[in-house]
Amino acid sequence: MADERKLECACGAAPMDTDKMWVIMGPQHPFSHGLWTLKAQIDGEIVTDAEPIIGYLHRGWEKECENRTYPKIIPMADRLCYAASMTYTHLYCMTVEKALGIDVPEKAKYIRMVADEICRIQSHLMWLAAVGTDLGNLTVFLWAMREREFFMDLNLRLCGARMTTNFPRIGGVRNDTTELFDRDVLRCVERFEKAIWDVIALVDDSSIFLSRMKGTGYLTREQCVNLGITGPAMRGNGVDFDIRRDDPYDNYDKVDFEVPVLKDGDSYSRYMVRIEEMFQSCKIIKQAMRKVAALGKNAPYRLKVPSRVPAGRAFMRMEDPRGESLMYLVSDGTDKPYRLKVRSPIFVNVSASKPLVQGSRIADVPVIMAMIDMCLGETDR
């Protein structure tokens, strides 16, 4: 593949014999969005080989958990991914609930779903902002971050914190929705559904964006699945799978939404999938908030749970904004987990860097890697 492109780039001239060179991108590089390194071997302008290096942020998260009681892990789970903190906490609580064999109240399920989808929109907007700066359009960055701020305020109304929310609990959620939240959530979502078109227009009307995104980072469906890529990056490759729909947790089987799937398999289709997912998230938030309202203010939102988890194993998976995240819990009957494994979607997605960037131009590398939405907190754990 690299050779064909080389000929194409040389505009018909005979390919030159050039020395291959390793370019070290990162750990402090504008494109990396966190501490990681991409070693790219280039032949002229074409990337012939690549190797990602991670681990700068490895703090032994899973081991640290073995030294803490179950409730104390909740704030730690927030810090796995700071851009969508509630999803990991939600996943952790679901895993422990599965091990305990309890079913949380309906209201808690819907509130968690709302929180998750707010986080999904936040995360996608953060990603959109990052793509904007990667491609040199600061307006996209500013406008996407402005939209994100409204959802940050929703977090603030829901639980008093903007980023690391510490909100889901084992057996439910910490508090019921507040009146201010009920008032603001629909306003915010409806406003967003209109306002995001400004940002979309900025990107879709920009020839710079389109020429960088269309046709770059191409993978076939089989490659993509075999490499273990999940999330929007996978659905942009024609894999019709979303854990919310196909392996539902909480009450996702009781709301109506669509899973966007595109078959092109390039950066642009991954971008389009994320944009459409934000609209679907809005749809889910509206339906779930209606269900919360129908349950009334007196409905229970939290269960009392025992502090010790019976010996056994349990795992749960969920659709993170970035892909499939999974937790596997081994408990030995004490109040601390014996082993807690986290499967991070980005950890696997970034391991596919080589096939993603191989054969593309070095200038396309930032946008190709931006399409997997790096987050180092969960990658290195």
Binding site: I54, G55, H58, G60, E62, K63, E64, E66, N67, V225, N226, L227, G228, I229, T230, V239, D240, F241, I243, D246, D247, F315, R317, E324, L326, Y328, V330, R339, K341, R343, F347, V348, S351, A352, D380, R381
Partner: protein
């Protein structure tokens, strides 16, 4: 080999695995969209390739190591994109012989999972293309997720 079953049900997975492997595979339990299997380590690769090719499990969610002090375990979570079913394969390794055949030739997505399990537990995946340290520094001398490696405050 029989033809690929694209969307197997839990019962079908159970019967296929039992008819193909007999006693070598123990099916611990099934739940809706979940099948829990225990496999001796010699058969892990064969069972995995059967599950991938015949039952159409295209994706590996995770490969997990687990230190049970007197033995180690490796847990595979495989998932099917047509039905949402997951198979959990548990295999036990004796503490004095931590080797198991790598499945990263079947699913490339396993590559880093196995590297991570190697560096944190010292479990050797035979046939892995690049079994080197990934998250910890190359000069690191410990396997930090083993139970013998104590954190501060851990008994």
């Amino acid at each position: 080999m029989s033809e690929t079953i694209r969307d197997p049900t839990e019962d079908r997975i159970r019967s296929e695995l039992e008819s193909r492997f007999g006693d070598r595979v123990r099916i611990d339990k099934t739940e809706p969209r979940r099948v829990y299997v225990t496999v001796p380590r010699e058969d892990v690769f064969d069972v995995c390739s059967f599950i991938r090719d015949a039952l159409c499990f295209e994706h590996v969610s995770a490969v997990t190591g687990n230190d049970m002090v007197d033995r180690m375990e490796v847990v595979y979570h495989l998932s099917n994109y047509n039905t949402g079913i997951m198979i959990e394969i548990t295999t036990v390794l004796p503490a004095d012989d931590l080797r198991v055949k790598s499945v990263s030739s079947l699913w490339e997505g396993c590559n880093w999972h196995e590297r991570e399990t190697y560096e944190l537990f010292g479990i050797v995946f035979e046939g892995h293309p690049k079994l080197e340290r990934l998250l910890t520094p190359d000069t690191y001398e410990f396997y930090p997720f083993r139970k013998s490696y104590k954190l501060r405050g851990q008994p």
